[in-house]
Amino acid sequence: MKQILVVDDEKLVREGIQEALADEGYAVYTASNGNEAIKALQVFVPDVIITDIIMPEADGIEVLLHAKKLQPRPRIIAISGGGRISANDHLATARKLGADVILTKPFSIEILLEAIEKQ
């Protein structure tokens, strides 16, 4: 069973993704900000990390940088919902820094599942 860490400062999003993925049979853990996420990563290495990029207190980029160093390297899915096109700049940065998938909010569960399983 794949282990997934979801990092997002919005509770609705966190819990929504968690529930949706749990329904699909994943073990989902959550963190509400970057610091929490990094702390969690010091304890376990998930198969997939889904993280929002723009967050207070150490944003997703930091999570990403940290995650890159983990062994075995998790699949990293960066998400952002600024709606601003400039949010895409963040996502582009995330891609350059090693995110495997970029998703702009809102997205469907289907897309998310594809992102998790895509080879």
Binding site: D8, E10, L12, V13, G16, I17, E19, A20, D23, I54, G81, G82, G83, R84, I85, S86, A87, N88, L91, A92, R95, V101, I102, L103, T104, K105, P106, F107, S108, I109, E110, I111, E114, A115, K118
Partner: protein
């Protein structure tokens, strides 16, 4: 006794007759012998001159004038004067003058003396003397003047010409000059005309002519003259001539300077004007006339300035300024051109008070219609940007909420199973969320850059980046393929390019309902090949073509002409804003590009975007 036909020659006996005839008459009769000495004077003559009969008289009289005039009866080659002047020395030493009729006495074929019938002309002589004196005084005075003073006869011969004239005209006293020849041929007709006027009694002021010097050079002159009459008949002209070269030069300099200022004011790209308080246009330069759409000064001056104001009452604002020297400035006035179109101008000027007390407004107007329009558009863009920024500020949270709603709705949908009613309701909620997402995206897209921001962007790179960002949101069931040629650079706002591509791909995905083939191709082309309406048909422009093809449901014939309309959508009610392609179309047009659609129901759709490539030197 018979007087001969040559009635001025008489014999001795005729002389005796005359003597006897006039002996006691009240007219003066005297005789001179052949030596031209007084030989007889009658009683009247004696008392006239104050002598008693016994006194010696032979030294009394002299003939005035050259003796030749006396000898004329004997010398035929000279015309005879009917009168001769005789001077008599009176008893108390004064000179008395007689104007005399005279006869020549002939004896034995020889000149024997003169017989005279005299009339007192002392007074006349005095007058003549005074005239002479004044003439010479005048002449002395005339000699002093630096200008030309002249007296001519009717034929133009000079009777008097002062010293200065010779210097001015470069002649010497020995030269024979005719006055009329001193005027250049071109002015002769006018000269004759003026002479005629003078002679007919018309009082005329000085006239200007061009005069000619001895060496052929010319000078502009002003001639003041009058007719000289003798016994009621015109005998000649007198007057003076002023050299007006200096004045002419000053005149020319003034004209030149005037011309310089006139052409300067007409060249300036601002409208220069003068108006009266009552609203009469008194001066307008070329730019002013053109700005208001009129063709000529005459045309525009016919209008009161109130005609040019779009808003009644605008003119009154100006009238509050009336202190001379007061400057005024109106940053924005709406004016009406001849054809009714509006322009917006800046009006700046000064109140001027003329010497006769009139108040004028002298100013300039500058057309700011275009900058004004740009400003308005900028304000509009700024407003939109503000809205966008505002929206952007909450977009993050909004998108989170929409995502949350979407996730739970999708999960609920899974739970709905066969409950069709429930399914339908949940699907409707999903549609609403989709619409919300799109709306937000479109509002927020106004932010980040001012609308006119442009950059030179490497098209291939940019499209590649954009695809990178959105490819993960393309469902796996869709076979996605991208082929990007390097065509160079386009000069666009990167945000807009993102919007264009995003919109096209979104539409394609929707048309395919989650599965099918989607391809993006970027390639280069020339104008003639692409049949693109470019601004200059003759200039082969390079274009990049962004080609988006899907295997979706296609567009029906009846809809294909409407797809770019705002709010037109074939998506189900609640889904889609109908703004996507409208925005794409506006953006493409903004960049002087073109958009073409090829589609048939059931056969998929091809969207082709043409963007002009920037001529960037790499």
């Amino acid at each position: 006794m018979q007087f001969q036909n040559d009635s001025y020659r008489i014999s001795r006996s005729e002389r005796d007759f005359l003597r006897m005839l006039f002996q006691r008459s009240p007219v003066i009769y005297c005789e001179f012998n052949r030596f031209l000495r007084l030989s007889y004077i009658n009683q009247e003559g004696l008392s006239f001159s104050g002598y008693r009969p016994e006194e010696h008289i032979y030294r009394l009289a002299d003939f005035i004038g050259p003796e030749k005039s006396l000898r004329t009866p004997w010398e035929e080659d000279h015309p005879r004067k009917s009168f001769i002047e005789v001077r008599i020395q009176s008893a108390n030493g004064n000179s008395l003058y007689l104007n005399c009729l005279w006869w020549a006495i002939e004896h034995e074929g020889k000149f024997d003396g003169i017989a005279c019938l005299g009339f007192d002309s002392t007074r006349h002589h005095q007058m003549m003397e005074e005239l002479q004196k004044s003439n010479s005084q005048f002449k002395e005075f005339a000699q002093l003047l630096p200008e030309t003073v002249f007296e001519i006869d009717m034929e133009g011969n000079f009777l008097f010409l002062n010293e200065s004239s010779y210097k001015i005209f470069g002649y010497t006293k020995d030269d024979k000059i005719n006055a009329f020849d001193l005027i250049v041929p071109e002015d002769q007709p006018r000269l004759k005309e003026n002479i005629k006027k003078l002679l007919s009694g018309e009082a005329i002021k000085g006239n200007s002519y061009v005069a000619r010097r001895k060496d052929g050079s010319t000078i502009p002159v002003l001639i003041y003259s009058d007719v000289k009459y003798q016994d009621g008949k015109p005998e000649g002209f007198r007057g003076f001539v002023v050299d007006i070269s200096a004045i002419k030069q000053a005149e020319e300099a003034l004209l030149e300077s005037e011309e310089k200022y006139r052409s300067l004011t007409n060249r300036l790209p601002v409208g220069i004007y003068r108006t009266s308080r009552e609203g009469k246009l008194l001066f307008a330069n070329r730019a002013f006339i053109n700005m208001l759409g009129y063709d000529s000064p005459e045309e525009i001056f016919a209008h009161p300035v109130q005609d040019f104001y779009s808003e009644p009452g605008e003119r009154e604002k100006l009238l509050q300024y009336h202190e001379p020297g007061r400057e005024y400035y109106q940053p924005e006035i709406h004016l009406k051109r001849k054809d009714g179109t509006q322009i917006i101008v800046k009006d700046r000027g000064k109140v001027y008070k003329s010497p006769d007390g009139q108040i004028y407004y002298d100013g300039i107007i500058e057309d700011i219609t275009e900058p004004h329009q740009l400003e308005e558009r900028l304000k509009q863009a700024e407003k939109l940007q503000a809205i966008g920024t505002l929206a952007g500020g909450i977009a993050h949270d909004f998108n989170n909420l929409i995502l949350g709603m979407q996730l739970y709705t999708e999960m609920a949908l899974k739970e709905a199973g066969n409950n069709n009613k429930l399914r339908k309701n949940l699907e409707k909620i999903l549609l609403a969320q989709e619409r919300g997402k799109q709306l937000l995206q479109q509002i927020v897209s106004f932010t980040n850059y001012p609308d006119d921001h442009r950059e030179d962007i490497n098209l291939k790179e940019m499209v590649s980046n954009i695809l990178d960002l959105i490819k993960d949101t393309i469902p796996e069931a869709i076979d996605f393929n991208a082929e990007l040629d390097d065509c160079g650079f386009v000069n666009v706002n990167p945000v807009h390019l993102h919007q264009i591509i995003q919109n096209l791909i979104t539409n394609a995905i929707h048309a395919m309902e989650g599965k099918g083939r989607l391809s993006i191709v970027v390639r280069c082309a020339y104008a003639d090949e692409t049949q693109v309406k470019s601004g200059n048909e003759n200039h082969p422009e390079r274009y990049a073509i962004i080609h988006v093809e899907d295997s979706g449901c296609g567009i029906s014939e009846k809809n294909i002409n409407r797809i770019f309309e705002p709010f037109f959508t074939t998506k189900d009610v609640g889904l889609g804003t109908g703004l996507g392609l409208y925005i794409v179309h506006n953006l493409v047009k903004k960049y002087n590009g073109e958009i073409q659609v090829k589609s048939h129901p059931g056969e998929g759709t091809i969207m082709k975007i043409f963007l002009p490539l920037a001529n960037k030197k790499e």
